[in-house]
């Protein structure tokens, strides 16, 4: 039973975000965004952006998701829809019906003036269309082609396609906000900040390799938001502080757990409503999440880095930077590049003892092929791996007891393999000492 030693700086996240959102209030043109929708460009075009998924995650995190899910369902929203969308739509309907009694102040929504969505999964595009219909506002969809061919040439071609769409998005945003000129300086400045952030985040993910890990991967997952939402110097400074706190721990051998015995990689997004349950559960068994692809930015296998070496940034051409970044991530990546970008690169170097793949019930792109991956982790890397059926924001698909059993079993497998190895080593030593 290890005790958890969380990073101090994570406490700063929510006040920092509140401050940021406040600073956005003066925009009178709000875009609702789902999926990768070129957030960077919004400010420069006089548009503030509201991330639908973050909002749903926040609601789930506050254990307030179920009522909205059920409210929507009663009105024809399918239970199998992406739970981000389910919550959001349920909330929208409740608001439309003036059901303020069931809506906490902090979840209230500012109706959108426009909607932008990135087509990376079955939901985003349709979700946006549906909202457009409800609010009678213009919708802009950015299409991200499926990167079945991961050759640089093909990826570059895709990036050019995306870039061309971003040019159109720029004009669309200006039209909506009524702002004359697109503020390139602002965008460049942001891009520079994002690059600085990416430098720190790369270092942070490397610091997770340290044994014992100076932080829990959950710390960094919950710290995604500043990088996604605010893209300014404040955010950069936050990650710098994050990095230095980890470094200081690494340099002095201080770990996130006082007794780290199992290092685990987590694949997939998190059940945001069970974050603390999970970290307590792992700590109970001296286990720690130390890596995963979710929310980590700018590592080797990132497609953008291949198109614009080394880190996907072209400060003179921010749109190209955004386009390159979007040309091959997560859902739209091919099976093989997923294996590299979401598995091997977070296993090699991280001293991983076990891998957990989260298969969100309402996110089928994530779920498909998870069993193949699990098998492959086992066979090719010799690391025990389980698939955990859950969900990112729908509590209906999470069973505490079941999860604990699965995790416990996993760690027992690790023990078994360790004993096996120890036996082999002893035999070898005996041979060398001439005892055989």
């Amino acid at each position: 039973m290890a005790t958890v030693n969380r990073l101090q700086c994570t406490a700063k996240i929510s006040p920092m975000l509140d401050e940021y959102y406040a600073s956005m209030a003066h925009y009178d043109c709000v875009a609702w965004c789902m999926g990768p929708s070129a957030y960077e460009m919004m400010g420069a075009a006089g548009v503030s952006c509201f991330q639908a998924e973050s909002s749903s995650a926040r609601i789930a995190g506050g254990h307030d998701a179920t009522p909205f899910i059920e409210y929507g369902q009663a009105r024809g929203v399918s239970p199998d829809m992406c739970s981000y969308a389910k919550i959001n739509i349920g909330l929208v309907l409740a608001q439309q019906d003036g059901r303020w009694d069931m809506i906490k102040e902090r979840y209230r929504l500012n109706p959108p003036n426009l909607i932008v969505a990135g087509n990376i999964c079955p939901s985003m595009m349709q979700w946006a269309h549906l909202l457009g219909q409800i609010y009678h506002v213009p919708v802009f969809i950015i299409d991200y082609p499926f990167a079945y061919d991961s050759s640089i040439e093909a990826l570059t071609a895709n990036a050019k396609y995306i870039r061309a769409q971003l040019e159109k998005l720029k004009d669309f945003l200006l039209k909506c906000s009524g702002q004359k000129e697109f503020n390139w300086d602002m965008l460049r400045e942001q891009t520079a900040c994002v690059r600085e952030m990416s430098l720190y985040q790369r270092s942070i993910s490397r610091l997770f390799q340290v044994v014992p890990a100076p932080a829990s991967f959950i710390d960094s997952a919950v710290s995604m938001v500043p990088a996604i939402s605010m893209k300014n110097q404040k955010a950069a400074d936050f990650y710098k502080e994050f990095m230095l706190e980890m470094l200081d721990r690494a340099a002095n051998g201080i770990g996130s757990l006082d007794n780290e015995r199992y290092r685990i990689m987590w694949r997939g997004n998190f059940p945001w409503f069970k974050i603390s349950f999970l970290s307590k559960l792992f700590a109970k068994y001296d286990a720690l999440l130390v890596s995963g692809e979710y929310g980590v930015y700018g590592l080797e296998e990132r497609v953008g880095n291949k198109i614009i070496p080394p880190d996907g940034f072209d400060l003179n051409d921010p749109l190209w930077t955004i386009a390159a970044g979007g040309a091959g991530g997560g859902y739209i990546a091919s099976y093989e590049s997923k294996w590299k970008s979401e598995f091997t690169q977070y296993i090699n170097g991280y001293s991983i003892d076990a891998v957990i793949i989260q298969a969100p019930h309402t996110c089928r792109p994530w779920t498909l092929t998870t069993r193949e991956f699990a098998q492959r982790v086992n066979d090719e890397l010799g690391i025990p791996c389980i698939v955990l059926e859950a969900d990112h924001t729908d509590p209906a698909y999470f069973n505490d007891a079941q999860v604990e059993t699965r995790v416990k079993a996993l760690l027992e497998t690790v023990d078994a393999r360790r004993e096996e190895k120890a036996k082999k080593d002893a035999e070898r030593e005996a041979m060398l000492n001439g005892e055989l």
Binding site: M431, L432, G434
Partner: protein, 385 residues
């Protein structure tokens, strides 16, 4: 050839042939036994392990022919042994070896072995044994022992049969027999200066490094027999000297000949193809693995690539004294870096002890013109006053 009835000249010719054409003997042995041939580089490869596995160890020597193919791969400022070995490999002259086994007798040789397959596709990955050079450090001694056990396992795998302690003990006996005969031969040379030309002695030893030990032993016995009558003849009046050097290769014939053509006679040597190869006997009173290990750490001649407290100059000074020699000639193979330090230390000691010493630097396939002779003659002239 008919060993029993051959003349001294015929016998010496046979040694010369065996010394220069290792492939013939190796292939003949293969044909006869169907066993594997292991080409080895480095004085400290524990040969008896190979012998005991029923395989034939052949020491890879430099070949006295111009390096051609290798020049494209190995710089001119690598030692001749390295360049010659690569050249032989590329010319396909090592094809008779089923495996190559390198001991890192120096950092360059080990790197060579490690990269051999990249120099020429005729060679597959080379086997290694790493024996720490720190002969007097207990930790290193233990490491060497473990490494030898590892090698034993690997050799068993290659041979396809286990290496029993009995077989190993037997092999050690064979090696000691050869060593003792060579030691006897050297005693004769010290007692009767000039009884054999230095070049002939070099061939005798070289043959023993390449051909099957059992056959070599037969030739040696006959040689010692044939030397009996020679002892009656008058001994050389030239200036007796000791030769040291050429640590991984055959000391070039022209050096030995020039020494004996300009007023000197070689009465003892500390050469790789010479006393260094046989002067350390295996201790037959202890367990065979321990005997091999002991032979490594308790060697007779100091080696520039190993580390011992003793000053190499003292060892050589004693050799000069015991052989009643008047001076020593240090043959340093160019670009044998470890040897450069060894020489420097010894050189200073000779100066203290007032032992006349001359440095001869040799380079593969670039024999000097008159220069060496002049220097040697000058050296001997200076010893006359």
């Amino acid at each position: 050839m008919d060993v029993k009835n051959c003349t001294l000249q015929e016998l010496l010719k046979e040694f010369a042939y065996r010394a220069h054409e290792p492939a013939d003997a190796a292939n003949a042995w293969k044909a006869k036994t169907g066993g594997k041939v292991i080409g080895i580089a480095g004085l400290d490869v524990p040969e008896p392990l190979i012998h005991a596995a029923g395989m034939l160890p052949v020491v890879l020597l430099d070949r006295d022919e111009a390096v051609t193919l290798a020049n494209a791969h190995v710089e001119m400022h690598q030692c001749g042994y390295i360049r010659s070995l690569v050249d032989q490999a590329m010319k396909g002259e090592l094809q008779y070896c089923d495996e190559l086994l390198f001991h890192d007798c120096c950092h360059i040789v080990r790197m060579l072995g490690d990269a051999m397959h990249t120099f020429c596709d005729k060679i597959k990955k080379v086997q290694f044994i790493y024996l720490p050079p720190l002969l007097e450090y207990e930790t290193a001694q233990k490491y060497a022992m473990k490494e030898m056990r590892k090698l034993r396992k690997r050799l068993e795998a290659i041979a396809g049969n286990p290496i029993t302690d009995e077989a190993l003990a037997a092999s050690i006996k064979v090696y000691n027999t050869q060593k003792k005969l060579l030691i006897e031969l050297y005693d004769i040379r010290r007692a009767y200066p000039g009884i054999l030309k230095a070049v002939d002695v070099s061939n005798v030893v070289a043959a023993g490094m390449c051909m099957p030990k059992e056959d070599h032993i037969e030739l040696l016995k006959r040689l010692i027999e044939l030397l009996e009558p020679e002892k009656a003849k008058p001994v050389s009046t030239a200036i007796p000297v000791v030769v040291h050097g050429s640590l991984c290769e055959r000391c070039d014939d022209y050096v030995l000949n020039d020494i004996e053509a300009t007023g000197g006679v070689i009465v003892d040597d500390d050469l790789y193809v010479g006393s260094r190869y046989f002067n350390t006997l295996y201790d037959e009173t202890i367990a065979p693995m321990d005997a091999i290990h002991k032979a490594y750490i308790k060697r007779v001649s100091p080696c520039p690539t190993r580390y011992e407290e003793r000053n190499p100059g003292d060892y050589l000074a004693d050799m000069v004294k015991n052989a009643n020699a008047k001076g020593i000639i240090m043959v340093v193979v160019k670009f044998c870096e470890a040897h450069d330090y060894f020489y420097f230390t010894a050189h200073r000691r000779f100066q203290d002890l007032k032992i006349p010493e001359m440095l001869v630097e040799t380079e593969h396939d670039s024999a000097p013109e008159g220069q060496l002779k002049t220097r040697l003659q000058g050296f001997f002239e200076s010893m006359e006053v």
